[in-house]
Amino acid sequence: MSVPAAAHERMIVRIPTVLRSYTGGRETVEIAAPATLGAVMDELDARFPGLRFRIIDEQHAVRPHIKLFVDGALLRDLAAPIPEALELMIVGALSGG
């Protein structure tokens, strides 16, 4: 499958508090503009080992209480092309005690 090349050079990833132990406390991480959401996850895991598995399971599905917003739109498909994306916001959304 051909994936469109990214139109922008950099993407901002907003890291929720639940994942900041992996990023050394950093709230945002800048990465080379990716072609897909999956590529973002791979890049994050390469830089912050172990992060990916905490939010994406072994079947490449986003875990139930994690939401991924790309430029404000909720995405769950890691293969989805995101060539124009400027920002990924990772949200840990959980109810209960």
């Binding site: 080992p49 172990g50 598995f53 905490r54 939010i55 994406i56 490449h60 994690i66």
Partner: protein
């Protein structure tokens, strides 16, 4: 070790350290040599659901903890300096992509055989068996179980099972033979392997499964906790969903030893723990499994029950415990015993209290309170 040296080691007073895994983190409780004074430290992993934490008896300094949070997927943390510092496993237990299955949480950790330093075993929810050969840094599925053609028949679907998810637990290694293993599954039953996990056979004859259509099925049972005695590895006990059972291998039929419990209390419970030296002595902590399964101490009156004759008879041990209106219970990993000359017995409650006895259950004292829901207690 010479017999005299063994006796001297058993006779020496020693401090006890308990690893207390809870729904909100990991705490450590340390005693003085007399086990009269206790000091609570922690938490580690605050906010993490810690299902199990255990020390490696082979090196005395490696600890592993199985954890997740409400948001984040399951992982394993490891310490090689007795808990001073922790590092996450590089490759936590996860099913193969081709399986279509996902690990919800790692539930049980077992250090490997004494002759296999670095080997660890893990049981997951849903039921999966994993092995590490590098001290818990990286984990791989045990194909002999995870890909066994009968696995789904044994365990049911990944959505079936206990309210908190179906589980593999009680991974037991025969101290005489690293290839001889047992596992317990809720649900599924007890299974045995003679080849290090390459193949498995059910070992459930004699165990009631009155919640299933067949009265005496080959598998599908619900053992809550299975223990193997280190000094007599042919002796196993299990606290089951339907009662308490014992087996003495090579027999292949479990014996009901819960029938001698008081009828008003019953023989249902989650945990059991064994005396470290006497294969005939064990403790259970009954719970109410009647009606809609309240899973609390029967009548709000918690008590341990001890047998000193392999389950022929039981004695109630409640001195020091609340006499009424105490509606907690003890989970399957939350009861343990130390190795002191007069054995200490410990349990953690669903209400966040840690109770201990320094006289083999005759009297109990609350050692810590106001903790989160306790999932597991292990001597470190």
């Amino acid at each position: 070790m010479a017999t005299t040296a063994k006796k001297a080691a058993a006779a020496a007073p020693r401090a006890t350290t308990l690893l207390v895994a809870t729904r909100k983190g990991l705490w450590t409780l340390m005693s003085d040599a007399a086990r009269r004074k206790w000091k609570l430290t922690g938490p580690d992993f605050l906010g993490h659901i810690v299902h199990h934490a255990i020390k490696d008896p082979r090196d005395g300094r490696t600890l592993l903890a199985a954890a997740r949070t409400g948001h984040l997927g399951p992982t394993v943390f490891r310490s090689t300096d007795r808990g001073r510092t922790w590092k996450e496993a590089a490759k936590p237990p996860a099913f193969k992509e081709s399986s279509g299955r996902t690990v919800d949480h790692t539930f049980w950790l077992t250090p490997g055989h004494a002759t296999q330093p670095g080997v660890w075993w893990a049981g997951t929810s849903p039921q999966g068996l994993f092995r590490s050969e590098d001290g818990g840094v990286s984990w791989a599925g045990v194909d002999g179980f995870n890909d066994h053609p009968q696995r789904k028949a044994w365990c049911g679907g990944d959505q079936d099972g206990t309210p908190d998810g179906p589980k593999m637990h009680s991974i037991l290694i025969d101290p005489r033979d690293p290839k001889h293993m047992y596992i317990g599954m809720s649900s599924g039953g007890v299974f045995e392997s003679h080849d290090g996990g390459a193949d498995w056979k059910p070992l459930n004859k004699g165990v009631r499964a009155d919640f299933l259509p067949q009265p005496d099925p080959e598998f599908g049972h619900d053992p809550h906790c299975v223990r193997l005695h280190p000094n007599d590895p042919d002796r196993l006990y299990q606290q089951n969903h339907t009662g308490i059972f014992r087996i003495d291998r090579p027999a292949d039929r479990w014996v009901d030893i819960g029938a001698s419990m008081p009828k008003s209390v019953g023989s249902i419970g989650f945990p059991m723990t064994l005396h470290p030296r006497d294969p005939d002595t064990l403790w259970v902590f009954p719970m109410d499994g009647s009606d809609v399964w309240p899973r609390i101490s029967p009548g709000g009156k918690p008590a341990a029950y001890r047998s000193v004759n392999g389950g022929k008879t039981w004695q109630r041990q409640a001195t020091g415990l609340p006499k009424s209106q105490a509606w907690w219970t003890v989970k399957r990993q939350a009861m343990t015993a130390d190795h002191a000359p007069t054995v200490g017995v410990y349990f953690g409650t669903t209400s966040g209290e840690l109770w201990g006895s320094r006289d083999e259950g005759r009297t109990w004292k609350c050692l810590a309170r106001h903790l989160p829901h306790i999932y597991a207690v292990e001597c470190a």
